[in-house]
């Protein structure tokens, strides 16, 4: 009998020696062993706690007592603990060890990933509706210009609130409200209000007020200065600008069409088009009986990760009853065609856009073509925790001097050289130097600007 036990022991030792000779086995240091011992101690302590709890629950006198907080937490954690493997030795920096260090939250809770936008619910209860989430953006700026006609000083940027709420698994609502400081009063504007029904990935039908999806920057960064690398938007799509319509009121269908590795996406929209003040959309109604429509198609191949290329067309009829009736009349057909090429990675980051705005007088048939675009390059530097991102942008706008719908337009040729420093994951500091003509003055000027932008 005794010899049998000895033989079993020898076989065990041989198996242990064989498994240790496998090349995949990590070498354990004394520190690793100490950590393993600590882990065993903690597990033993936990077993003791569970045994004590089991003994306590068996006692009839305690069955009617109010349960304490700690046992409740343990009871919630118990199902997960049971699924974990027994205490197999693992190196201290292995994924399993990291997991044990970070597994702190109750396993039945589930939250959104966005800080400040958490929704906690029990999986058995399903997603609560509506689940309103709010996020804010703000920025504070300082600017100085070499021209005496432009005052230097601080300015408050836009204070923007964004609302997102799922009303059901397929219906969602989005809104964006901005507060813009003007002389004496804040201008409050409902920048976007969109109710959307998701038929599937290929067809998401929505109604409301949008940022017109014929310009990449306009729909990628909206009013969140923190989201964009630079301090200011490109001149072709500045807020309040007249070159291309920033907003669009109507209906839209968008989505991704099954296209394999191409990543083909689209937007199709129909709406009111520009108002009599062509910098504004037709919020209260269309100014004529011709609806504007747009089509935007883009490719975002998943294999290329950060790459997107696309093009858009926009058609509208502009009516400008408030301007003096000149030789071209008050009504113009508008065709806008645009294209973009972007690489959204940060090493490097690249944006390039171009648009041609074609106007034809319905009265005389005379046509006017204006062009605008920009090229922006940035690169996230690898040192100092990747906090620094220098950038350069060139803006270009060219409008014929006799273009009747864009009178007194200032053409732009401008270079911007700057750097962005990310103070934290949610706040950034930017400083840039601008040299060129147009916006704000037609003659060439030098300017510097700094901004701190953040999200909350």
């Amino acid at each position: 009998m005794r010899s049998a036990w000895i033989a079993l022991f020898v076989i065990s030792c041989a198996l242990a020696a064989f498994s240790q000779s496998a090349p995949a086995g990590p070498q354990l240091s004394s520190a690793d062993v100490q950590k393993l011992l600590d882990r065993i101690s903690s597990l033993e302590q936990r077993v003791s706690e569970l045994e004590a709890k089991q003994a306590a629950s068996a006692a009839p006198a305690e069955q009617n007592a109010t349960p304490a907080a700690a046992p409740v937490e343990q009871a919630q954690a118990a199902p997960v603990q049971q699924q974990q493997p027994p205490s197999i030795p693992v190196p201290p920096n292995s994924p399993a060890t990291i997991e044990n260090k970070t597994a702190k939250a109750p396993p039945t809770a589930e939250t959104d990933v966005m800080a400040g936008m958490h929704t906690i619910y029990q999986p058995g209860e399903g997603e609560p509706y509506p689940n309103l989430k709010i996020r804010g953006f703000a920025d504070i700026d300082f600017g100085a210009n070499s021209s005496d006609r432009v005052n230097s000083g601080f300015t408050l940027g836009q204070f923007v609130l964004h609302f997102a709420s799922a009303l059901s698994p397929k219906i969602s609502y989005f809104a964006e409200v901005s507060l813009t400081p003007t002389a004496g009063v804040y201008n409050v504007d409902l920048e976007r209000t969109i109710i959307r029904y998701d038929v599937n990935d290929a067809a998401k039908i929505s109604f409301g007020r949008y940022h017109t999806p014929i310009n990449y920057w306009n729909t990628a960064f909206h009013h969140g200065a923190w989201l964009q690398t630079t301090i200011a938007r490109p001149d072709m799509i500045v807020f309040g600008g007249r070159f291309i319509p920033v907003h669009f009121v109507g209906a839209q269908s968008e989505g991704f069409i099954p296209s394999g590795s191409l990543g083909l996406g689209y937007n199709l929209g129909i709406g009111n088009g520009r108002s009599t003040n062509i910098a504004r959309p037709g919020d209260p109604g269309d100014v004529n009986n011709n609806r504007a429509w747009l089509a935007n198609v883009f490719l975002r191949p998943p294999a290329l990760k950060h790459f997107q290329i696309g093009g858009s067309v926009y058609n509208d009829e502009i009516t400008m009853p408030t301007v003096d009736v000149g030789p071209q009349g008050q009504n113009f057909r508008e065709w806008i065609s645009s294209a973009h090429l972007v690489w959204t990675g940060e090493t490097p980051e690249f944006y390039a856009e171009f648009a041609n705005v074609h106007h034809r007088s319905i009265f005389t048939g005379q046509t006017f073509d204006s062009q605008g675009g920009y090229v922006q390059f940035a690169y996230r530097l690898p040192f100092n925790q990747r906090k620094w991102k220098p950038y350069y942008r060139y803006d270009y706008l060219q409008v014929p001097f006799d273009e009747p719908t864009l009178l007194d337009f200032t053409n732009v040729r401008k270079s911007t050289l700057g750097v962005r420093y990310d103070i934290s994951d949610f706040a950034a500091f930017k400083a840039e130097y601008r040299n060129g003509r147009g916006n704000p003055l037609p003659q060439r000027t030098n300017a510097v600007a700094v901004q701190t932008a953040f999200t909350f």
Binding site: L15, P79, I88, M114, A115, A164, N200, R300, D425
Partner: protein, 162 residues
């Protein structure tokens, strides 16, 4: 005393044998990251590009009535590092900004859901219809539906998520 000694030796031997066998099995598992889905998901194979579109939130539905529910591990974890590198091609900061921007652009109403451990991912992915998550291959249990990536299961040569 003698009886206790006779019992202790075989008991220790058995435990040692068990630990050796389990340890040897564990050593055969790799550090691959497995993609797991709820049993309701009507797929068993994804290309790496399809996995990218799903985890980046560009594809949001498995089928017309089955939305995709993304479950993502909290940092720090090896699995999260692999997914951020191979599927998102982003750093932690870029990942946060990406989802804030995606919600801000009205392309999604919520970001991915957080899970704090592989066991929590395993539990939730089996509960939530349409859920997809990732975890270390060594922690995959038989009750989980593992998705092939580019036709390969975790642990096979050429598996892309490692």
């Amino acid at each position: 005393m003698t009886l206790k000694r006779h019992l202790t030796i075989p008991l220790v031997s058995m435990l040692l044998l068990f630990a050796t066998v389990v340890g040897a099995q564990a050593q055969t598992k790799s550090n691959d990251v497995a993609i797991i889905v709820n049993p309701s998901v009507p797929l068993s194979d994804l290309s790496l590009s399809e996995a990218r579109t799903i985890f980046r939130g560009d594809r949001q539905y498995w089928s017309k009535d089955l939305p995709i529910v993304l479950l993502i591990r909290t940092p720090p974890s090896h699995e999260r590092d692999v997914i951020l590198k191979k599927l998102y091609a982003m750093t932690e900061a870029e990942f946060k900004q990406y989802w804030i921007a995606k919600i801000f652009r009205a392309e999604a109403t919520t970001g991915p859901k957080i899970v704090y451990s592989n066991s929590m991912a395993a539990e939730l992915v089996n509960i939530l219809p349409g859920a997809i998550a990732f975890m270390a291959e060594k922690d995959v249990t038989p009750n989980l539906k593992v998705i092939k990536i580019d036709g390969k299961m975790p642990g096979e040569p050429g598996y892309p998520l490692r």
